[in-house]
């Protein structure tokens, strides 16, 4: 095999594996990309999908209810313009509180957001970037929440 042929073989192999990888990535994107919406997005663009999505906003004050067994939780996610009712089964993260930022992943069903995971935060000042942006979009942003 001449050096040129050898090189060509490997370049072809390289392209082939890149092709396979791109195909994998594209199909994976189709199924696994999780879009983020604010409550206003969902109400105004009347988003109605059974796909996994993320929603984010503040936990509306006074909306947090726990069931008898303490495991099923109901609350509302708000960007202070619209709010979406949500349910979640499981222990809440340490920093889950009313009036605090929250990002939840799950799906919409009959206007209620069924959260599969509540994304945990690492510190009390941390406002998820998505939440800050959606509050800004709704015109309810009150400056930097940091410190």
């Amino acid at each position: 095999m001449t050096p040129t042929r050898r090189r060509l073989t490997f370049i072809c192999l390289g392209f082939l594996s890149l092709l396979v990888a791109s195909a994998l990535a594209l199909t994976a994107f189709e199924d696994t990309l999780v879009f983020f919406y604010s409550p206003s997005d969902i109400k105004e663009k009347s988003i109605n999908t059974d796909k996994q999505i993320r929603i984010g906003g503040l936990v509306k004050s006074g909306s947090l209810r726990k069931s008898e067994d303490g495991i099923l939780v109901r609350f509302e996610v708000t960007d202070l313009k619209h709010s979406i009712p949500a349910v979640y089964r499981g222990p809440l993260p340490d920093l889950f509180r009313e009036n605090q930022g929250v990002v939840a992943e799950g799906h919409l069903s009959k206007g209620i957001f069924r959260a599969k995971t509540i994304l945990a935060k690492h510190d009390e000042n941390y406002m998820p970037k998505e939440v800050a942006d959606s509050l800004k979009k709704a015109g309810k942003w009150k400056g930097e929440n940091k410190n």
Binding site: L18, A21, A25, V34, F35, F36, G70, P91, D94, E124
Partner: protein, 664 residues
């Protein structure tokens, strides 16, 4: 006063780094062998200056000198000593000092231990390493001075984020930095070789110890980080494909590819420009990781205070070094002599496939990590790319790699024989089938997919052992002679076997954990009980206790099986008053085959507490596998060939009929 001296030492280090860059590079270019030697003392001086600055900062932390802004913002007088020290690198400024300290450490090791390097190459390596130092020292001094004073002096500090007050995390950053900053030195070697236009087996041998050191540390650093996330965050998982995790994983993948392709350069004088490219890429990805973490584009526990100015500065550094490196590469690489020829089916061919698959895997991780940032920047649409994406792309690429890992080492250099390699792999086949069937019988009631992982792991592990056995002619010659051969085997051979076995064990752990974990969430009052994976779990009581800088609610969960007490678990929910922060302290009961992992949530005596308990099968194997990889790296590092550094005599490794070199 000491803080000012520390600041001064940083400036001194910048001056030294400038000397270390300019003088050796220019005098090497002019073939001035006397002036060139200045690289050595200046690299040593730069290292000690930064070490002094680092100690000065550590001193400020230990003595709780709250007149220093950095200490006041990140420490507290009540914090245990270990966390006062680890607090030094628990924040942006301090961790940058650690970053440059390690950068200078690698320059220092080249200056002190690089005696066997040709003087010109050493001068150039030190020069390039110095230039990276210049960039980052300038970054620290202009944007992130850790020694800034505060007036008035606060009475006490603001404390370190409680999540970071943990022994696992105390050592995670130093190890991680040792790894990915360590790829700076392979980068410097690559650039020096490009400047000289000369790269060959000797170069690969020189660069190997540093590359191994960086790779081993990075492996250890990522493992520590993952382990920390597992037991400290209380989410029960060990890897989340979080952008920051990916930022450290990409240099690891490319670094792994580099280690393998450097072998081809060393043994066969081929794949030279590709190897140089990998060295550049590994460091590029390290710098990109630094940028992602410190620019505020990501929000995570790793992201330090958001400051666009810092992000821009690092981006400029990234652009300069990466841009420069690629331009140099574009000019010089085509002029490099084409090395030894080989057939596609050969040891070289196998290593090329390894490189190809690792690079493609890196590309998918890169895409998944950066796509959300890209989409947000261009369209404002927010998306997240989570584990499902990586499972669907990364794993299918890894499977052929794992299968090839057993075959590659069986092929001979230049021209291999696939049929004979496969016939030698009968043992791997038996292991694969045996382990697959064994685990299937043990877990017949559970999902099947992990069995594929076990079969692959068995194939890989069996292949690795068989390769070692063949080398010492085990059972082919008398056992004693085999043992003698085993003693004579180079340590790097054991390193490889251990690392490959480590991967096999890791794959078992990761496969089992992917589909066989089970969990129970229940609201328990004292004396309530539940069942999980055949264990009986009973909440005995919950105590309120006080720690050095926190208050805690501690549950006592008794684990029994067939009314025998197996373990007592004490998960905690801590409150840190200084930072007004709650943390979950999981407790883990580990056996060889599984972890019981318990956390306690909100609650009180009247309504009970929410307990969440996981049964995570084979998780300890993940750590064991990583440990073996690290051990393999360490053992390879002690290989005699690397310590002596003298060119190895060409012995029967391959037929020494050199084919004419061609330019192309």
């Amino acid at each position: 006063m000491i803080a000012e001296l520390g600041h001064f030492a940083l400036i001194l280090a910048l001056v030294m780094a400038t000397v270390q860059t300019a003088v050796p590079l220019i005098s090497a270019h002019r073939s001035n062998t006397v002036l060139m030697e200045i690289g050595k003392p200046s690299a040593i001086a730069q290292f000690f200056a930064i070490l002094f600055a680092f100690c000065a900062l550590t001193n400020a932390y230990i003595t709780s000198d709250f007149s220093v802004v950095n200490v006041a913002e990140n420490s507290h007088s009540l914090k245990p000593l270990l966390y006062k020290i680890s607090g030094v690198w628990g924040n942006h400024e301090g961790s940058m000092v650690l970053w440059v300290l390690i950068l200078a450490l690698f320059g220092f090791t080249v200056a002190v231990f690089g005696k066997s390097l040709p003087p010109t190459l050493r001068a150039r390596v030190l020069g390039i390493q110095g230039s990276i130092g210049v960039a980052f020292l300038a970054f620290i001094i202009t944007t992130s001075n850790p020694f800034l004073r505060l007036n008035p002096v606060p009475l006490d500090g603001r404390d370190l984020n409680p999540l970071l007050q943990d022994p696992g995390l105390a050592f995670h950053p130093p190890m991680l930095y040792l790894g990915y900053v360590g790829f700076s030195i392979t980068f410097s070697f690559a650039i020096a070789a490009l400047i000289e236009g000369n790269i060959g087996p000797a170069w690969a041998r020189w660069v190997r110890p540093w590359a191994l050191l960086a790779w081993t540390s990075l492996t250890a650093g990522i493992t520590l980080g993952s382990w920390w996330a597992y037991y400290e965050l209380g989410w029960g998982g060990w890897w989340y494909w979080d952008p920051v995790e990916n930022a450290s994983f990409m240099p690891w993948l490319v670094g792994t590819a580099f280690l393998h392709s450097a072998i081809v350069v060393e043994k066969r004088d081929a794949l030279k420009s590709w190897t140089i490219l990998l060295a550049i890429l590994a460091f590029t990805l390290s710098l990109m990781g630094t940028f992602l973490v410190r620019s505020g584009v990501l929000t995570s526990v790793h992201a330090f205070a958001v400051d666009p100015e810092r992000g821009l500065f690092i981006l400029a550094i990234l652009a300069f070094f990466v841009g420069g490196a690629f331009i140099l590469f574009a000019i010089r690489a085509p002029k490099m002599a084409l090395g030894g020829l080989f057939q596609p089916i050969s040891r070289e061919g196998g290593l090329v496939m390894n490189n190809l698959l690792l690079s493609v895997a890196t590309a998918t991780v890169f895409l998944g990590t950066l796509y959300p940032l890209f989409l947000d920047a261009t369209t404002g649409q927010k998306v997240s790319v989570g584990p499902p994406f990586f499972n669907a792309t990364f794993i299918p690429i890894m499977i052929p790699l794992l299968l090839l890992m057993a075959i590659g080492p069986m092929l001979s250099w230049k021209q291999g024989d696939l049929a004979s390699a496969m016939s030698r792999l009968w043992f791997a086949g038996i292991c694969s089938g045996g382990i697959g069937i064994l685990f299937w019988l043990l877990n017949s009631d559970k999902p099947f997919t992990p069995i594929i992982g076990f079969a692959i792991a068995g194939w890989l592990g069996g292949g690795a052992l068989k390769e070692l056995a063949d080398r010492i002619l085990l059972f082919k010659i008398p056992l004693l002679n085999s043992l003698l051969r085993a003693r004579g085997l180079p340590r790097s051979a054991y390193g490889m076997t251990l690392a490959h076995l480590g991967i096999a064990i890791f794959v078992c752990g990761a496969s089992a954990d992917s589909a066989w974990r089970s969990e129970v969430v229940f609201n328990a009052k004292e004396k309530d009980q539940t069942e999980l994976a055949g264990f009986n779990l009973k909440l005995q009581k919950v105590d309120r206790l006080k720690g050095p800088n926190y208050e805690t609610e501690r549950a006592h969960i008794m684990v029994t099986k067939d009314s025998k007490i197996i373990a007592n678990l004490y998960p905690e929910r801590r409150f840190y008053p200084v930072q007004q922060m709650l943390t979950t302290e999981a407790t883990i009961y580990s056996t060889v085959v599984a972890d019981l992992y318990a956390t306690i949530g909100e609650g009180d005596k009247r309504n009970g507490w929410v307990l969440r308990i996981w049964y995570n099968p084979l998780i300890p194997w993940i750590w064991l596998g990583c440990l073996l990889m690290v051990l393999g790296g360490v053992i390879s590092l002690t290989d005699r060939r690397l310590r002596i550094g003298a060119p190895e005599k060409k012995t029967g490794n391959y037929k020494t009929v050199e084919l004419g070199t061609e330019h192309g």
